[in-house]
């Protein structure tokens, strides 16, 4: 049983690899969406789950990545592999400009500033028509070439997204167990104590926030090329809330939880389609239920069950 997590991981990866052959085109499209969204959720896991920064504007950073990629490919004719790094850089730089002044302040200042930034981003995307296409957004974003292969349609994009999710998940796991990851957790648990234990609190917070945004940028760049069409409402404040709920549903301090949460919440509107117009109201209640019933998310819940089970066995 000690190898259970590894066995599970291999099983999940294997089924993820064969999934496109089995599931319908529509579900494949959703699965692809869930995969590249989960990159932004892992980003949020770094900033919120580990470092404790209440970040209500992740969608804006996804948007910066998406618009950077879309504008550069449609206007300048650059390819995905050139624009994607630029998109990451753009998201990261904007985040750096926000983070440096904001992160010296108490938590709610960051939350409100980032919320304000998300709303401002929407206003600019809607009204700076020359650059962003305004309300109509940007259409005909070209597909991706991968070593000469044309990646078009959902199957190719599914594997491309899976590839990036695996890399980001490995990076996240390595980060979590590094000096930096431990410093982040220390800040979340007790900022003052972390500071006196010679953790450079502000620097680590800035690092976490910028990393979160860089990953959001990657997610956005993939989103733009997958959807081939982006518009301002894809990156509004409500989307930031959805990304946050994905994280708390899966388990706010776990990379696996981030992926699980984004898969569930991407498919949930389809599974609950019978609710019709009631879905959004139910979604609001769902948020409260998660917070009240399992504040550590699905992964945290399973961990506490396992702990209880192990304890029960050693006692019996």
């Amino acid at each position: 049983m000690r190898n259970l997590p590894i066995v599970l991981l291999v099983l999940v990866l294997a089924s993820a690899l064969v999934a496109p052959a089995v599931i319908s085109d529509f579900n494949l499209r959703l699965a692809t969406l869930a995969l590249h969204t989960s990159i932004a959720v892992i980003g949020l896991c770094i900033a919120f789950g580990w470092t404790g920064l209440l970040h209500l504007g992740q969608a804006a950073f996804v948007g910066i990545g998406a618009y950077a990629s879309a504008i550069l490919t449609t206007r300048a004719g650059l390819g995905f592999w050139t624009t994607m790094p630029i998109a990451l850089l753009a998201s990261g730089l904007v985040a750096l400009c926000i983070a440096v002044p904001m992160l010296r302040l108490r938590g709610h200042y960051l939350a409100l500033a980032v919320l304000g930034f998300n709303v401002t981003f929407e206003i600019v995307a809607r009204n700076w028509t020359k650059l962003t296409g305004g309300f109509d957004g940007i259409t005909d974003i070209p597909p991706v070439f991968f070593f000469g292969w044309l990646i078009e349609g959902d199957k190719g994009f599914y594997y491309l997204s899976l590839f990036f999710v695996v890399i980001v998940a490995l990076f996240g796991t390595a980060l979590r167990h590094s000096r930096y990851g431990r410093a982040m957790i220390a800040i979340r648990d007790d900022e003052l104590a972390a500071g006196t234990s010679s953790v450079d609190v502000t620097r680590i917070k800035v690092l976490a926030f910028v990393l979160a945004s860089v990953l959001a940028g990657l997610s956005g760049s993939l989103y733009a090329h997958h959807a081939t069409f982006i518009a301002p409402q894809d990156f509004e404040f409500g989307r930031s809330v959805t990304i946050l709920v994905m994280l708390i549903l899966g388990g706010e301090s776990s990379v696996a939880g981030a992926i699980i949460g984004s898969v569930i919440l991407t498919f949930l509107p389809e599974l609950l389609r019978f609710l019709g117009d009631y879905y959004q109201a139910v979604f609001g209640v769902l948020i409260l239920l998660i917070l009240i019933v399992m504040p550590n998310g699905l992964v945290g819940q399973v961990q506490s069950w396992r702990a209880r089970w192990a304890k029960g066995r050693s006692n019996g």
């Binding site: 002044p101 010296r104 304000g116 401002t120 206003i123 600019v124 409500g238 009631y278 959004q280 109201a281």
Partner: protein
Amino acid sequence: MSAQVLQLAINALAAGCIYAVVALSVEIAYESTGVVNFAAGQLVTAGALIGLSAVAYTKFNFLPAYLLVIVGMSMIGIVFLICVYLPLRRQSVLTIVIGTVGVGIFIQNVMLLTWGPLPKSVRSPMGSGAIKFGDVSVSLHVLYVIGVTALLIIGMYLLLYRSSLGRQFRATAQDPEAATLMGIRVKQLYALNWILVCVLSGIAGLLFAPMWLVDVTSGDNIGLKAFAAIMIGGFGSVPGAILGGIIVGAIEIFGAFYVSSAFKDALVFALMFLFLLVRPQGIFGERAADRA
């Protein structure tokens, strides 16, 4: 000053009053529980829409209709206390803040199901008349908004700073445990807190509705601007919330006229960011940094 500037100024003051009332509501929740109430905007819409139905139900008897709204908003406050605040009270403040986001989504979509998506026009109890001062024409509703806001501010001041209840309220905000030891009934005060928060937001809804069209999303923007108002005026300061509200109203109305109506809200947030950069404690606010 030209008549046009005066005209804009009085409209700015009226809009600012509405932001100030919402900011006051957010500020009270923050002071007493540490929670930033992200459902404020949706509560404003709820006040406006419940008001719309109540006024129609009482056949344009505004006084009983508005009493109904206050009762309705108080009930929302109590439901919020029982279903959200009390279950989450022992968890971190961040969790409660996310809870208020969930409440906002819930309220907004229940309203969408109840009142539908179409914008509605709402009548003012003052009718649609206006008074002329020279070249400046001021609608009665605008004067009424300014008057009600002034009364609310005075009322809140007396309640919080000149009554025994207010002293208990502030004591609980500072240290709930010590307050319990002093024999203060903390739970009742939490109830009072959330009732005040909801009623104030609801009144802001009643005030704004006749000035603009109302739909289920119209409060969202008002809530966001109330947050900007608090950041500008200073977190943790009641006068700051009021002054911040009026500044935000002024930027919005003058910005829309002289700069760009598409970017008027961006101007508000730009000023908010400027304050965060240069004077994060706002005009009157608390110490903004955790450490020196």
